[in-house]
Symmetry: C2
Subunit: 406 residues, 2 copies
Amino acid sequence: MKFFENGDGLTEARGFFCSGIHCDVRGNKDGKLDLGLIYSKKPCGVAGVFTTNDVKAAPVLYCQSLLEDSNARFHALIVNSGNANACTGKMGLADTIKTAKEVARHLNIHSKEVLVCSTGRIGAPLPMSRITAGVKDATDDVINEFDGALAFQQAILTSDTCTKSCSAKIDTSMGEITVGGVVKGAGMIEPNMATMLAFLTTDASAENSYLQSILKKAVDCSFNRITIDGDMSTNDSVILLANGNSGVDLIKEKKSVQAAFVEAVHSVCANLAKKCVSDGEKVTKFIKLLVKGAPNDGAAEKVARCIGNSLLVKSSWYGEDPNWGRIIDSAGYAKIGLEFETVDLLYDEVCVLKNGEPVLANKGTWKEIVSKKEFSITLDLKLSVGSFEIWTNDLSEEYVNFNKSE
Amino acid sequence: MKFFENGDGLTEARGFFCSGIHCDVRGNKDGKLDLGLIYSKKPCGVAGVFTTNDVKAAPVLYCQSLLEDSNARFHALIVNSGNANACTGKMGLADTIKTAKEVARHLNIHSKEVLVCSTGRIGAPLPMSRITAGVKDATDDVINEFDGALAFQQAILTSDTCTKSCSAKIDTSMGEITVGGVVKGAGMIEPNMATMLAFLTTDASAENSYLQSILKKAVDCSFNRITIDGDMSTNDSVILLANGNSGVDLIKEKKSVQAAFVEAVHSVCANLAKKCVSDGEKVTKFIKLLVKGAPNDGAAEKVARCIGNSLLVKSSWYGEDPNWGRIIDSAGYAKIGLEFETVDLLYDEVCVLKNGEPVLANKGTWKEIVSKKEFSITLDLKLSVGSFEIWTNDLSEEYVNFNKSE
């Protein structure tokens, strides 16, 4: 597998075209690109993982209903930023369907072959006249095969500070296949993906159920392990489109090719998830947090999330304070039967606690490690073999300032 | 029942003496009072509710073991601020016992008649020589019956900005009885009390088991309903001492007096809990949040805690942004089966959502309400009859700045 950081992402897979245009979803005429389109002439198999929030945005409900048909095929995916179309009732759902119909009309396909996503502020109706006008521009661009990969990446952003993409390529006896991906993230990341939209493309083909099982597992090991502020959105979606343009049908391939494809999807998801955490709202640090030696994986996850979501812990990371007391305290309120006297704690490879005793000889290096932009923390409970890793970040004053109003 | 805001608190109940002195627990010679003592010549019945964190500080373990004896009686309670004596291993427990012994020696009582509490930084050993010297000063003051009520209130504070006390008095045929209380709070309040020490005194008497059942219920309806930052400490304790100085034995009293006593304990706990939230670290607003119409009380609590702990919701309150979308979104990730189309949401008495539809006619007043220093939010899910109320606050940039190091 060859892996490529950044770049075009989605259009690295053959047969996919992207566009991104400004149609003024926010109504402030700031010129920001806010409507993106993915298009494939060949129909695509699909897999999707969506928010588990009780309150799901209209486009999420719409996509989920389309994906219920295991033979569903798609030609297009349209996404707007600036408005989540969430908590918008029947009108919201009608607006999603209308958007799909507009895309279908211009591309001469069926509206059920169009997926729709939205991200942005909750509770306001979509500005449909501007969206409708924008759909014409966005479809024109893909019909004319303009190179809109980067424009698409920009069009889906909200409070992100940069575009986020990557791709992976695998050699097979039938030629090369590619998995490309892009993501938008920023605030509200946890648990289970939250205000995050990720899109993957591949020029391999496979049945939807096969793609779904691969994507689900990859999401569990990536997007579902990141936490920025403990919030979870109404709109988060990860969608994989497979158009088969390479001629490679995964089902007919050798196990080694299938395994390489799984690895490629995992690598793309992991890379995009890490980019999300690093580009979290007003974040200054990336922390990989591993809890091991727990009674089981579920208990390890509980402990990891308690630490990773603790405001006091996150504030201390921001302040570059190697405060192991706050880490142990937050681990303790997961209430999984932690025994402080047996706990080991490491910053990177440096021992901070050994059997609950501070290793004071290392004290000088603790501060050095938490002063880095990226470091790891390992908490070994030494109770059993359960483990869980999450990726998290610090909490800055700027986060609060940024989120005090929209 | 007569209720008194602020004032002496603990010494309002007859026969209790308090002192508060500076013994330089923090080692920075700032002069801050940091060692407090409660003393009663008559032995006291006791009730106690303690942190449920897996990691419990030495004094918590010590008090819990003493309270296992249902006939235990106490003359004194000593508390230091500036050092939590948590994560300090066997030496920590030995230091707690030594502190109790010192108090007992000066007061000529048994060390098992002395309760010990600590609050402050985790993981550092207690400065025992300074504590020992301080115990002499603190015991001298109560022996000489100095008026140290306010000094005690100051001695237990950490990042609190003010002392917090109240008392309630009840008339009985045997004369008046009093319940007094003080609290220290600030950060790390939720769930289940967290870095919070509350002490109550009464000059009534009763068996420990009777007092325990009353205190437990009062704590569940007060301290366990407050949330500041979702963190929970190793040290939180609520302790009630009953010395019987009034001559009133609750067990022998009429039901009406018993009910009035229960009400007094509840009122004191509720008042202290609210003071804690309002004095949370760098807090600018107090919000009473009621979730009703949930499938059951547990589900209502889940929803209330998701909203009350959401950084995005708390940041928007700080920014005085009446952002109902973030409230609904955070309610949704409690995943209790919320249906947005049936939800009513009120700021104070003003309807914001009716059956999931924004009541735009009221929009002008939304902002007015969330701009107040104190307001209420009611979320009616209209699914069934479960309800839960919590008291919470906003999140300010200053909170992060304050907590980025200790």
